[in-house]
Symmetry: D2
Subunit: 455 residues, 4 copies
């Protein structure tokens, strides 16, 4: 029996997450249905409609629709993956702070770039939440957009009964690192990343593992030796976010450094981890970055990458290239199947804190494992962060909370307070931070129409 | 590859749980090892040694040992299932209160019988915990003994780092009831009980289900109709605890009655549920019990049953009967395998509350689902009980807490306070309750040697 | 300088609390202002207008007004003391359950009477809260009406920013008992009740004292001896609620009995304490009541008392009797002065739990000390109840919570669930309790117009 | 009647706090007793013995004793005010970090100086706590030593039942500022600082006021205007800590700046507040410090001040100067009297968090108001910090927690982790911070004998 389902895809013109999803839907023989693609760039959605309908064996029908209600009505699942403001905004987010000596390796989650990105994204998420409440209140909602915590938080604040969760693959990379460690240390080949059982907790892109096992092997003692041995970094990197180029690469040095300090495994790519620490530690300047073995992902490089994907899409549409769906390694399809009763799953996911992280405030969006089963996602009790990891995490979580609260009240000066207290921004004075903030707002003002202008 | 393991069985002369375990170990081809049987009745342990070594194909070697340290040293798992004080004590626990018009359907968990049973069991568990701390501090400890909550609590209070959990199959019976409902209502055959996905919470033998799904079917609306339709009770009972006789039977009337009042599924056999409610509701007198469609399990009947099992054991040992191991439906072996990395499992289990039940105090032994995986058990966030179920549950949990605290301080008058506040005992006056308490202590004083005598 | 203030009095025709207030306002030379009397019985309000204007030296002007908005506009303080449904309803509340063998000594707080009284009072409090939000959102609101917890809870649920608190003098009686103990034991004369410093916690009419000092004398060890010595009861009762007749009298036997069981001082009159315990303990039948040394306050006796007060009022109005204001011993005026910056005060008061009682749920109305100062009331951290007192208290608090929630949703069957679980009601079966509940609703249906009729 | 009392003074050779206490004891006619002075500098204690016995009218007898047990036995109150390691250590704490561009205005609470000071103080406090447990377990213990939070925390960790609290006058200065505002804005003369009623919360030297009233005047709206008007700073400073010289002066600019950002009144001297903020805000370099209108308190200046006090002491002893006791404005004597039943007091104090600050972890030492009464101190519910003040505070509190935990485990590398995450230290790299830490330990190693040497 093939299970029928209806998906709404907000940001349906995406060339990254949408393609992964189309691949995964094409590869799974047990499900079928309809995917409605909504995007402010209708042309992009139409391209994906064509590609989607070329993929698979017709079990899924793809359709680009011009409005959000058309996409949402009757949906069992809603997926949100948008690029809020496009690469021009991202250029300001990531590179403008460099004028003040502030370097960002990603710039979409925290730091000055993450906060300004949140400010323009939150009004969009207010609209999504309101539309979901109106047109698909019982749908499961999967968010992939960054800044993950603040986007997901906005959904819950606007529509508290929303059944939303946020997904990210960064922990998978750490599981892969542990699998590769087992190969090196124990000669174990072909350990799958989801055979590495971890207890994970924190906030998206800054999560910590305090228990890791492969079968009956306790991985933490092995990891300690591994971190010491490879403290200078590992070159041949198993994990590439977005199956892509060197600009995403890193040598796990930050991960090892954090482990040796705090005795917990930081579970995200080094590019993300660096941004959650005081700026002077790993992002002090490009030389320091280099020394820690990772790269700053530039927006010009992202533009090139985007152009490649666009050309690839056109080639598929024009029939000059074939689309060979392969499993992406992402878990969205497994999660949806679990929720429909097609096999339980325990995996890491972003949800409001109901106590799964005991030393972060209730209600904050946190990332831990959760049990996906028929009709329900239940987070597991992951315990406390403790110590300096707690101190670093709650500071960022407090800032996120302040940003979301302030945006929802249209109080951008409240956002400024959080911005000035950001771990990358405190290297400059209040006055300089304010000047930078105003300039960054001005650079991206095309997307700030819903706010009182303070810049 | 066959995984090796070493088990210590405290109460290894048991004819109930021990046989189920031997069967399950015999049936599973992927594991092997050693089972050390310790029992104060060494003869009984020796009988099980013989039966165990006759069962299976020799993958497991059984050995009765005369001391606890011999059993525990090197154990990966410790199983505790004892009958504290034997059937003579149980006779007093269950039937003595009848003199005061207090009827108990089980008498081993709560009520006057449950409390007095706890009083004599707690000193035994103090010894077990101390021995485990000394001889097997890293072992996983599975408790099957009642009163479950108080036994497990004692283990944690004495040795806070113990890796103990308590197991009970009462929720399984409710899952089976839901499966049989699916057959009746939807014509679905062969739904397995573990395909019924439930969110369960409460304390052992008084747990509540507020979410139940089979694949994509929400079972709560169906159950409401089912409870109304079968309000007078269901005769042909799918569930028989201990695959046994009518004395354990019930018609689910109490379960239906509680559902119609509180809109949550009470998830235990009616005999247990009745004892957690004010005595006048379902246990007012034998006529009321009959009217609610369940039976009072008498100790004479238990004696007969025990005799049958004993004869059965002798027959197996003498070779006049064969032991055909069959899977028991219990989950102990699955749980142990999960902990060794042989397949994850999410199931209900008794653990100290770390927030999995949001409206019971932290530290109390609660029953919810937990994720069993390599090297770790993590409870899931089951949420709040709320309303009258909360009021009923916390009253009992408070009483349990008071009993354990008082016993550990050798303060039996503190136990008396809890006893007088028990939901079955409040039908009599303080003075009568005290008189009854003292008599029940006297009846069982052979096992109360570690306490200052107040009776 | 005399401080000006404006008071609104809801229930301004009252002959009990209103007269105390008029006396206290008349006695205090430092304040002046206006008192607006609102009552559904406008004649009664007019009588109090006359008496009020005869009292004092004209510093306060009294005025009966026909509508709530007229009373509230511009008020600095709002006082609510009503008799919801009058003595006819109370007759049913208190005496109808006697048909089922359920005796109540007060019947206005908990027990079947307290719950049915709550059901008819909550809609009135919804109106009060809405009117206060509209007409006097910044006023301090003092509630004297029972059931205290449920009335105050309703105010906060309807208007969460209300600055309301509930006052009751029952703890004062316990302080007076401790003062009389000091006289007896230490020969100390003239110890004032507010010199007895207590740490108090619980819910209204069922509060517990775990620390009591007079200057540097620790009173708990003395109280233990005192309780033992006077276990049979104290005849010459220092404390008479409402300076009134024997029908309110008691011998503190229950107070002593509870202390010897739980080692905390129960801090309310025995008539109230009895109702929070399982019915069979102190209220089993009139003989048991007598044996415990207290009386059942009958409604016929209340009628007589009311008639006396009415005649007294008429005599004052007609000039045949003079009104000699004397300080009542209540604290309302002191509290209002403290809030206006005229002297700090620490006293017991009913407020939503923000953690002042650590083992009751947040948000529940609890009674502890609080610091009254300029512009602010801040509860103190009173700690945990613990043990059996906790078990008894939370059961009642849960029931209250269920009643308020159900009434606000117009779900009287939810109230029935709580009613059936009440500590006085569990002596009868579900079915009998339902029958009794329906009859009690019917008896008082004149005040249940806002509910769907289920009786 | 004059109340008798016995005090033990640890650090009894002090020329600052001890003199204030002697003055206050001399001024109060209602108390008498004995003060035992213990100090590692016995000569200093002897000087204070002489001065003490010259002060007052002989109601108090002072005696220097050579051992801690002699001081403690029979004490009703224990006062601890020590200078851990003396001014030589303080020279390293405060000035060594300047080599790394890190400036500290006080250097005794947080920042690199505060942490290293804690490291050498904690072992001393372990001894004090053990001795108090042994010799004076029921005494009230008042701590004045900095770092306040970590000293007080150590007392509670070593002897959990200790009745200790920590006192500091920084909030008083803010009350005085509010009083002077009332003079300027409202023309109110002679408002006393304790007539300014504040709700205060946070950690010592970084507390926040969210409610402030004088009689019925709400001070927060006035303060907003006041902060705007005086944003450049107030010259004529009403508040001088230690009645002393310009090196302690400040213009309240930081206080005003923080208020305008966070809408709560930061309630400590600017010199303290600055150290809790990211270093680049107010302490970036000496020019920035000047611009914010406060001074860096240098250790050479402290030496001069100490010398003056020493000469003063000798003059009193030699009879060339008279000792005229005047009330110090401190509250120690009032607090002790309140605890003996000589008048209630509500004031700010440092205690383990039992929920008085709702968004800091339980158990952490926090500063809020508390009710001092006969035999008991009860903190009031001060509520949440919220927003950026919370983010800044919890970061520091987490670091303090980590330092105390690590010192008690003799794990100075755990302290290093906290040190590197300190808000003043994050301006330098991990490596530089480690180098600085080791040097600072080396500079003060004479007091680090109880630790494994890692420097
Ligand atoms: Mg991500
Ligand atoms: Mg069971
Ligand atoms: Mg009352
Ligand atoms: Mg200070």
């Amino acid at each position: 029996m093939v299970q029928k389902m209806k998906l709404a895809y907000i940001g349906g013109g995406s060339t990254a997450w949408a393609w992964k999803l189309m691949s995964d839907l094409a590869c799974d023989e047990t499900i079928s249905g309809e995917v409605l693609l909504y995007d402010i760039d209708m042309e992009a959605a139409k391209r994906n409609e064509k590609i989607g309908n070329l993929s698979g064996k017709g079990r899924f029908v793809y359709k680009a629709v011009p409005t959000l209600p058309e996409a949402l009505k009757g949906a069992d699942f809603v997926i949100i993956s948008i690029l809020p403001g496009g690469l021009d905004c991202m250029e300001s987010d990531v590179h403008y702070p460099e004028k003040y000596g502030i370097y960002q390796s990603v710039g979409d989650t925290t730091g000055p770039g993450g906060i300004v990105r949140a400010i323009r994204t939150i009004p969009m998420y207010v609209e999504f939440a309101q539309a979901i409440e109106k047109y698909a209140p019982n749908a499961w909602v999967i968010n992939y957009t960054n800044p993950m915590s603040m986007c997901t938080d906005t959904l819950y604040r606007v529509f508290p009964k929303i059944k939303a969760f946020g997904c990210c693959h960064e922990v998978f990379g750490t599981q892969r690192l542990l699998a590769s460690m087992l190969k090196e240390v124990k000669g174990l080949e072909n350990v799958q990343r989801n055979e590495i059982k971890v207890n994970v907790k924190g906030i998206n892109h800054f999560t910590w593992i305090d228990s890791a096992f492969y079968k009956d092997i306790d991985l933490l003692p092995l990891y300690e030796q591994f971190a010491v041995k490879h403290y200078e970094g590992i070159d041949n990197n198993d994990f590439d976010e977005d199956d892509s180029c060197r600009m995403y690469s890193f040598k796990h040095r930050i991960k090892f450094d954090l482990f040796l300090r705090y005795h917990k495994i930081a579970a995200a790519g080094d590019r993300h981890l660096a941004e959650f620490c005081p700026g002077q530690w790993y992002l002090d300047n490009p030389d320091v970055v280099k020394q820690w073995g990772f790269g700053l992902t530039t927006v010009p490089a992202r533009r090139e990458e985007y152009q490649e994907r666009y050309e690839n899409a056109m080639a598929v549409i024009n029939g000059t290239r074939e689309f060979h769906p392969e499993e992406s390694g992402e878990e969205g399809v497994h999660q949806m199947k679990a929720l429909m009763g097609m096999g339980d799953l325990v995996t890491n996911v972003n949800l409001p804190n109901q106590g799964q992280v005991s030393d972060l405030p209730l209600g904050r969006i946190v990332e831990t494992n959760a049990h996906f089963t028929s009709g329900k996602i239940t987070p597991v009790i992951a315990g406390e962060l403790g110590g300096v990891p707690h101190a670093m995490t709650i500071r960022v979580s407090d800032n996120f909370d302040q940003v979301v609260t302030s945006c929802l009240k249209d109080d951008l000066s409240g956002c400024l307070s959080a911005f000035q207290n950001d771990q990358l921004v405190t290297r400059i004075s209040h006055g300089q931070a304010e000047e930078m903030f105003m300039a960054m707002l001005k650079n991206t003002e095309a997307y700030l129409g819903s706010y009182k202008k303070i810049w």
